[in-house]
Symmetry: C2
Subunit: 185 residues, 2 copies
Amino acid sequence: MRLYIGLVHYPVYNKNYEIIASAITTLDLHDLARLARTYDVRRFFVITPLDDQRALVEQVRRHWTEGYGAKYNRHRKEAIGLIGVVSSLEQAIDEIAQSEGEAPLLIATDASRQKDRSVSCEKAREIIQRGEKAVILIFGTAWGLDKAILGLADYVLEPVSGRTGYNHLSVRTAAAIVLDRLAGR
Amino acid sequence: MRLYIGLVHYPVYNKNYEIIASAITTLDLHDLARLARTYDVRRFFVITPLDDQRALVEQVRRHWTEGYGAKYNRHRKEAIGLIGVVSSLEQAIDEIAQSEGEAPLLIATDASRQKDRSVSCEKAREIIQRGEKAVILIFGTAWGLDKAILGLADYVLEPVSGRTGYNHLSVRTAAAIVLDRLAGR
């Protein structure tokens, strides 16, 4: 398995379907880093074009990997150490291409079902666990990924369905379910 | 399926394995309520003996079910409306017994494997989905549920394992994975 994840803060939608750059939620950094460490993800890219927001992520990362946090909780250090801070999805893909020797397959997640390139959890799991290609799985913050980003993806994962039609999970809990389904043993 | 969940703030451990009452994390109320709504959970009990903390939960609940939040986001209203605020696990069990006509089966979750009454996800899923008995599934905050609570449980769910030995997820993401495994279709 050669799996990467990305948390996209731009371009995403706000409540009125306008394209925005969302704010970093520091708790999401912890939750997704811990998930990444649990599911053997190689790197967790936090993606935002805003300089001050990247600086905030770097500050959190330093605190837990080099600062007081590193001594306070070594488990957290292992997880937060997986964070990479980049200004765009392209930069994340470039970094993966450099370390893997090839561009990764891009699988986007979305809360609505797509007409094109939709992929089931079973199929995505097979692609990821076969490990023939590096894969980056991306999650949108705020009201979800810009359609232009979905258009770049090789596949768009089918939405998480529970037992009801309700389809409004937090990105943290949706990412947990998706990683367990796709990368769990 | 007659499933209930509980988020326990007392008695739980702190980092030094002392018994404490943990503080409410309001974001957990949202995340677990949205999971409850997604997985057809009948009620989500927030359990704390501290009056001011119960008042805080009530305030959050009112905001999203009756206050401005109810108009701002009706999806959130549906989820937060599932919250019940109680001062003890016993009170949660009593309320379930009143509405179901029988005491529920108690399934506790823990990050460490138990010697006694350990139950696999497959078995727990079967019990829950068969629906013969009402079930309450409880999650501990802070460093996990007091062993005395685990001792009261009919079953203790096997810990969530991903692909690595790492076993330090947030309660939000662990609850997401557990609900998807046990109550997903």
